[in-house]
Symmetry: D2
Subunit: 165 residues, 4 copies
């Protein structure tokens, strides 16, 4: 029986301390809710923090790597998928997640949000900047949610899983 | 000897009349400059208009299709590449272009701009909205140019080809 | 901490009853050994039988789907990865497995064996036909093993995991 | 108007002198017939020889590269497509060709023949070994042709283009 997968996307090297804290807490809460966590798999930024949080709560973590082997894999990943797709793996990330949560905003994250919205995936933006929120509202009005704390995020994910778009 | 490829990206169904006119004129000017035009290949919006313009000037056109066959191919494409990658083909679009020009802004276009910038490809935005320009300036300051007319676009492409980032 | 993944590849619609029995038994033994089972994820042939076997032994199953959603997913898959790569996902299958075991031989399986060998992945052929064995021996001498029963398969996988090529 | 594309696949480093001669002559004859030549694009083996032959006859050559940039590109390629798909680009090679001709047999070539047959693409094997011919006949009876000289190859390609499978 297929398990629900929640994807957490965000910057690698460019993640802020606030991004890392949010990603860790979110990964932990996702695991506590019984969902599988999916990230881009690398030992950097939001990916690494979210999967560390999920492991701290005994969750299961999946990492979708850009390379053809396990180079650069985060320690906290249980299931590593080696795609050899480079940044093309961003499309696999969003298609494999039941809900996509973006924490912070790097260029890869922007591509993931855009691909998720284009594929009609439920998207949640964690504390977006005003510019980012306006940008995506002009592009995809009503197609994503904004959350500002962990309970709100979990409630929103729960709602989206039970009423997928 | 490899030929220079200029990619023109933009909305399909959601293209405005202004987008279509700009894409046609740009495709024509790209062909007149002796460059190969690359698009997403489908018979829709900016892709179709740009390749029609290029053919009107006797240029060579390449279309990178999302599907596994030629379904939906624009008539004005000479060389059709069937990727079976879905939206994952957006990464192939930008990697194969020496310069990426975005005319209009759909969700697919956003993913292409983001992937192009992430891969350090030269990117040109045609008449971006203030929101879009601010959004990308915050994300990737100094990594893209803005143009507002065809001569400016061709001058900018010429400069970028001779001095790639 | 990354878990070991064993990939079982084989025909979908064209699987023989012998293929299905072998795949089921192999999936079960892989789960009993504590490894994660990876297949092409579809509800057909060797993929479905192997994951059913693994679930019968309480194992964890990963399915790498060719499509962009869960259409055609086998019931016995826990973690579904949606690639939207079509048959291009065969490369992801073999790159993500620590060892690739081929049970039966469809055209997709042949592509997977060839891609696995090209990527220097350990490959095990289950009861290959004489023609298939000769074919791959001429192409990649000494790069794969042949097994004829479950204990032999598990012993071989164990050896390959501890001494990867 | 889309042009007909003939794909020539074969070993890179492992190509024999006979493979190289055949690939060069085939590339030349394909160009003389007015078809576009498509290869894997690298400066090695059958890929390089076929595109050199096509350029000697003034043809147009397309190379589908495994990497994200032009590293390793053959000099004789006009249109370089950068996929960043690694060996996953083999599926793009066969899907983009109207007919696939295999000259020699490396592991990559085997994956391409298998993926082409799986996608119901017309496949032609140039002077296959008895083992290879038997192997593919058992797998895909009646789905491919065997040729032994250039005129036969061109006649067969012509027939397949006019009566695609």
């Amino acid at each position: 029986m297929r398990r629900v997968i929640v994807g957490v996307m965000g910057p690698g090297a460019g993640a802020t301390p606030e991004n890392l804290t949010a990603a860790y807490d979110l990964g932990k809460a996702i695991a506590q809710a019984g969902w599988v966590l999916l990230t881009g798999g690398r030992a950097a930024g939001v990916m690494a923090a979210a999967s560390q949080g999920a492991k701290a709560a005994g969750g299961l973590t999946v990492g979708i790597l850009p390379g053809k082997d396990h180079q650069g894999l985060a320690d906290s990943i249980d299931i590593a998928i080696c795609t050899d797709l480079g940044n093309g793996r961003n499309n696999v990330n969003v298609l494999s997640a039941d809900v996509v949560v973006a924490v912070g905003l790097g260029l890869g994250t922007v591509s993931e949000i855009a691909l998720a919205l284009k594929n009609n995936k439920p998207v949640i933006l964690w504390q977006p900047t005003p510019t980012a929120q306006t940008f995506f509202e002009e592009l995809a009005p009503g197609q994503f949610s904004v959350v500002t704390n962990i309970p709100e995020a979990i409630a929103q994910i729960t709602a989206l899983i039970h009423n997928p778009t």
